[in-house]
Symmetry: C2
Subunit: 181 residues, 2 copies
DNA sequence: ATCTTAGCGAACAAGGTGTTCAATAATAAA
DNA sequence: TTTATTATTGAACACCTTGTTCGCTAAGAT
């Protein structure tokens, strides 16, 4: 990829990340992104067709780091019945979110999270499907899967909104505790 | 309230509900609402300052029916340890959402749900706080409360997105089963 | 050194926003 | 019924955002 393209793309991502931490996604204009990134109008549209495409690309970029191949590998079934492996993976995700230079916290909170959460949950669904220690519960599998994914996503959002006041280890622990005890 | 005002307000709500079932909230313009409601431009702005204000008003309207005073009354602690009361209340909410003439399903899904969910969770938090049968779990109370609220909200969204394929009774049962077993 | 591609920036039409105002019609109060 | 009040109207307004086009320039690849 041309160095110029990479530079422009980075500038757009950076500007967008900054803005998304300041105001609602819906209220951010392409004009503002252009101004903040200090690029030409036509240049923006040469890279992204719409604002939604930009968000999608940013999410894909972020998640490719957070949900690494190793993390998503299938051979992680846990036969201890204690979910140590899943807990470790969730901890890993939380650490990534915490340490990321990109403004993930900003994206997740500040009411921009609609689309972000959608993409986030897609990855989580894949992860949980593969780490499905059947819970001994009288409910359909699709219900349980959605419950696990949704409640973890909500947990992350809550964790971020509350200044990450618990450590990743604690948060993952509590989640496993509440979900699988 | 003047009959004219009520009529206009209803027309706006109706038009908005219809549109929100057709396209993303973010992409709905005031112009479209005006055209659909068949009212004057200045009339709209006499009623609502922004689109967000309109959504807020609609949500308040809906929730005032769904979360009735009876439902929110405090004296509903359940000492059986089986959460029969909470389950009945959740079932009641699901029935309301299902039968509502207003396009609640449309609002909840179709990616308009960001703000709706926010208001929804406010009410749920109040409800769950009052029906807090301590779960015997090693996690902070604020974590548990958020988990219960968030996972129920996610359950409802999933239920609606999947054509409400389970009955309200089943869905509430599964939720209690997974959360409190 | 030359070919190729990205970025620039100005201009454009189309359409949305939020406000104002005088005229009109519906409603409430006497 | 008459009168006073208030909501709605529709046009006009300046302003902003959008997405596209185009010739020019500059950076990068070969």
């Amino acid at each position: 990829m041309d160095r110029r393209q990479q530079k422009t793309r980075d500038a757009i991502f950076k500007a967008f990340s900054k803005l998304i931490g300041q105001k609602r996604y819906a209220n951010i204009t392409v004009q503002e992104i252009i101004d903040e990134a200090n690029i030409g109008r036509s240049t923006f549209y040469a890279h992204f067709e719409t604002k939604d495409e930009l968000l999608k690309a940013l999410c894909t970029d972020i998640f490719s780091h957070v949900f690494s191949d190793e993390l998503m590998s299938e051979k992680t079934h846990d036969f201890s019945g204690e979910n140590y492996v899943l807990e470790a993976k969730l901890t890993h995700i939380l650490h990534h979110l915490k340490d990321s230079e990109k403004n993930i916290a900003g994206i997740l909170s500040s009411e921009s999270g609609d689309l972000f959460m959608k993409y986030f949950k897609d990855y989580l669904t894949e992860l949980f499907s593969k780490n499905f220690n059947e819970i001994k519960v009288n409910a359909p599998a699709d219900f349980v899967l959605n419950h696990l994914v949704g409640s973890f996503a909500e947990t992350v959002k809550w964790w971020v909104d509350n200044s990450m006041k618990y450590t990743p280890e604690q948060t993952a622990r509590y989640y496993i505790e509440v979900s699988y005890n």
